[in-house]
């Protein structure tokens, strides 16, 4: 029972990341009609925003260690601690959550630059060419990151205060041994908040209404005198921010390395396909669904019956869905069914 509950949480967690990336992919595909293979790179860039910000805050100087008196010893003390004392060290502790503030504008800028600089020129080209050029872009971004940060994963721990585990077993009246890392709970909450925010933005604001209308019938909206292209560019920036935030918050869970984007991208594409190309709700639902399926498949009891199932379950589901219901779980009828 405990194990099942834990796997459910694990799945929701992973599903949160899948859902956030898939949401961005779907937004971009639905609005601009572009298949963006570089979306995983945005996720990775978000994670590296967290890394950079942490590094930036902990720039240190060598100070003589007073506690050792036998010989001259030095230790590294961050400038922030020297200047602000306890407040400084608190800032450093909270660097990962604080980098949200930094990540949003950075990712927005990167997203806008990407759209204006490259994607814009590919609206009218074939899907194959879109895939190829964004694939190339993904390689470039990935290699640039590798050049600056190296090939090894960079551990980026969560703040000390929330590094422990939450006794969820006690809260729910299950066994006391059932604990779950705080950060993962925060991640899940965070992803739900972001998803809600995106949906609220699309459903409740005028801007969102125009975007939805544009997804339905772009020409008609343009004919009403609305600059659809500009709105869609902003949507692309938004998708980049969502992917970046997803990656940034994921950094304490999985130490970021340069190819994490590719790994997540392939899975997220599968998620989009399962959910239905162009369906935002489908992307979110399929993200959580596949996340849960994957973590249940990695239960030892299931692995002993079907070895290796945890590695391929997502792909298997995708193949079955594509063959039986090509438009995906929640795709609109007639959209991309061939």
């Amino acid at each position: 029972m405990d194990a099942i509950f834990l796997q459910l949480l694990n799945g929701l967690d992973k599903g949160g990341a899948y859902a956030l990336i898939a949401l961005g992919l779907t937004l971009v595909f639905g609005t601009l009609g572009v298949v963006n293979f570089a979306h995983g790179a945005l996720f990775m860039l978000g994670a590296f925003c967290a890394v950079s910000f942490q590094k930036l805050l902990t720039i240190s100087m060598k100070v003589r260690d007073e506690s050792i008196t036998f010989f001259e010893a030095y230790k590294e003390v961050p400038y922030l601690e020297i200047w602000f004392g306890d407040f400084g060290s608190m800032i450093i502790d909270w660097s990962v959550p604080l980098s949200i503030l930094l990540t949003i504008p950075t990712m927005l800028l990167i997203g806008l630059a990407m759209e204006r600089g490259l994607i814009k020129h590919f609206y009218k080209r074939t899907h194959a060419e879109q895939i190829l050029v964004t694939f190339g872009l993904a390689i470039v971004v990935q290699e640039v990151i590798r050049h600056f940060y190296g090939a090894n994963p960079i551990p980026t721990p969560a703040p000390d205060i929330i590094s422990g585990s939450a006794p969820i077993g006690l809260w729910l009246g299950l066994s006391e041994n059932l604990v779950y890392p705080w950060w993962r709970i925060i991640y899940l909450t965070f992803s739900i908040i972001i998803i809600t925010a995106v949906f609220a933005f699309l459903q409740l604001t005028t801007f969102g209404m125009v975007v939805r209308a544009g997804m339905q019938d772009r020409e008609m909206v343009a004919m009403l005198g609305i600059n659809v292209e500009r709105k869609f560019t902003i949507v692309f920036g938004m998708a980049a921010v969502v992917a970046g935030l997803a990656g940034m918050m994921y950094a304490p869970i999985l130490p970021p390395d340069y190819h994490m984007g590719m790994d997540f991208l392939v899975l997220s594409f599968v998620v989009v396909v399962v959910g239905g190309m162009g369906s935002l709700r489908g992307a979110v639902a399929a993200g959580f669904l596949l996340g849960i399926l994957q973590s249940f498949a990695s239960l030892n009891e299931i692995k002993s019956i079907l070895p290796g199932i945890d590695q391929i379950i997502i792909y298997l589901v995708a193949v079955v869905i594509l063959l039986t219901r090509p438009r995906g779980l929640m795709g609109r009828k007639g959209v991309m069914e061939d």
């Binding site: 895939i131 190339g136 390689i139 290699e143 590798r146 070895p307 590695q311 792909y315 061939d338």
Partner: protein, 372 residues
């Protein structure tokens, strides 16, 4: 393609064969005349030719062809381990296995087209890669990769003597130049087959599918069997290439199946020119050659190269170029990929065509000028 149609296919084949077989001679001046690299040219040439039959003729963008390459390699190594060190059965089984898997994967993937096809093939390739790394370890030897051992059965060869045996073709060892010539002969045969496919009614039908599949269907034409055949053939080519990889170096690892490997063959085909006969080969040559040069260059070599410049300029140039060489070769590859897709989607062959056209029109206008 016009370039080839004006001459008879026989001449094309003859020139091609001579060019391939004399590669060690005419590639020597640019530093590519050694067997390791030449083998790579031939092997990846076969891979790209096969990929071109699918992507170039039908326009179906597969992102999972590396899976067949890996399957070919594993099968060949198993043939070395179980049967004999002779390369012929190894290659036969490699092609057969890759063909079987291509039939299986093609049967499912080809029910969809466009992006769905790309994602499906990608999903299958990732699936094979993940399985090769984890559950199938008894067959694939997981992370270490499949290798020959002294305990292998080798039914036809009998027990191994001292040390590991090497691959051979009726007594000729398949390393160094003999390995290259073997690959070269296979490449020539593979190219001949692809030429025949391009010229055949079958090839015409594949091209018709690319230009307008719906219209093909309206004329009462079932496109599926043709697509299936093209997919299986290109899968078998990939298996052949994988088998040859094992022939020249008898080990197989899962990383050969990774989707970046699939991306590489796409890039080679596009760089040279999709759907052209020689394009893919040209792409392979360029990429493998520069990979070889670029990944060997390091900072010291760059300093040497730019030493004629004044000090600060030298340092500047080195700082700019360093990220693109050595370990950063993939960055160059990515940039190249983007540049080609953006500016020259038809690849180098299209570029040559454009130059030729411009030259021709200029020549024509000059002639008319003379008349006046």
């Amino acid at each position: 393609m016009n370039f080839t149609k004006t001459r008879s296919d026989l001449t094309v084949m003859l020139i091609f064969s001579i060019a391939v077989l004399t590669m060690p001679i005419w590639l020597a001046p640019i530093g590519a005349g050694y067997p390791d690299l030449l083998q790579k040219f031939a092997i990846f040439g076969i891979f790209a030719i096969g990929y071109n039959i699918l992507f170039g003729l039908t326009g179906y963008l597969s992102f999972g062809h590396a899976a067949f390459l890996g399957i070919g390699s594993y099968t060949a190594v198993w043939s070395f381990k179980l049967l004999t060190m002779n390369v012929l059965p190894a290659i036969f089984f490699a092609v057969l296995m890759a063909g079987l898997f291509a039939a299986l994967i093609g049967f499912v993937s080809l029910r969809r087209s466009g992006i769905y096809f790309s994602i499906l093939t990608l999903a299958f390739a990732q699936m094979s890669y993940n399985l090769a790394y984890s559950v199938l370890t008894p067959i694939t030897n997981g992370e270490t990769g499949l290798q020959l051992t002294l305990q292998d059965a080798r039914i036809f060869d009998g027990p191994a003597g001292e040390g590991l045996p090497s691959t051979e073709l009726f007594g000729i060892s398949m390393s160094g130049y003999s390995g290259f010539y073997f690959c070269a002969v296979v490449l020539i045969i593979a190219f001949f087959l692809s030429l025949k496919i391009f010229r055949s009614p079958f090839g015409m039908k594949l091209q018709a599918i690319k230009s307008n599949q719906t219209r093909m269907k309206y004329t009462g034409f079932n496109t599926r069997p043709y697509l299936m055949t093209a997919f299986i053939i290109s899968g078998m080519y990939a298996g052949l290439a994988g088998g040859l990889m094992a022939v020249t170096d008898p080990l197989a690892g899962a990383e050969r199946m990774q989707w970046t490997a699939s991306g590489e063959v796409v890039l080679m085909t596009i760089l040279g020119g999709v759907g052209t006969l020689f394009g893919p080969l040209l792409g392979v040559g360029i990429i493998k050659y520069f990979e070889n040069i670029f990944s060997a260059v390091n900072e010291a070599a760059l300093h040497n190269f730019f030493s004629f410049l004044p000090g600060f300029l030298e340092n500047l140039m080195v700082t700019i170029i360093t990220p693109f060489v050595g370990e950063g070769w993939h960055l160059t590859l990515g940039v190249l990929f983007m540049v080609i897709v953006i500016f020259l989607p038809g690849g180098i062959m299209e570029g040559l065509d454009r130059i030729k056209k411009r030259y021709k029109t200029e020549g024509a206008s000059e002639q008319t000028g003379d008349k006046e």
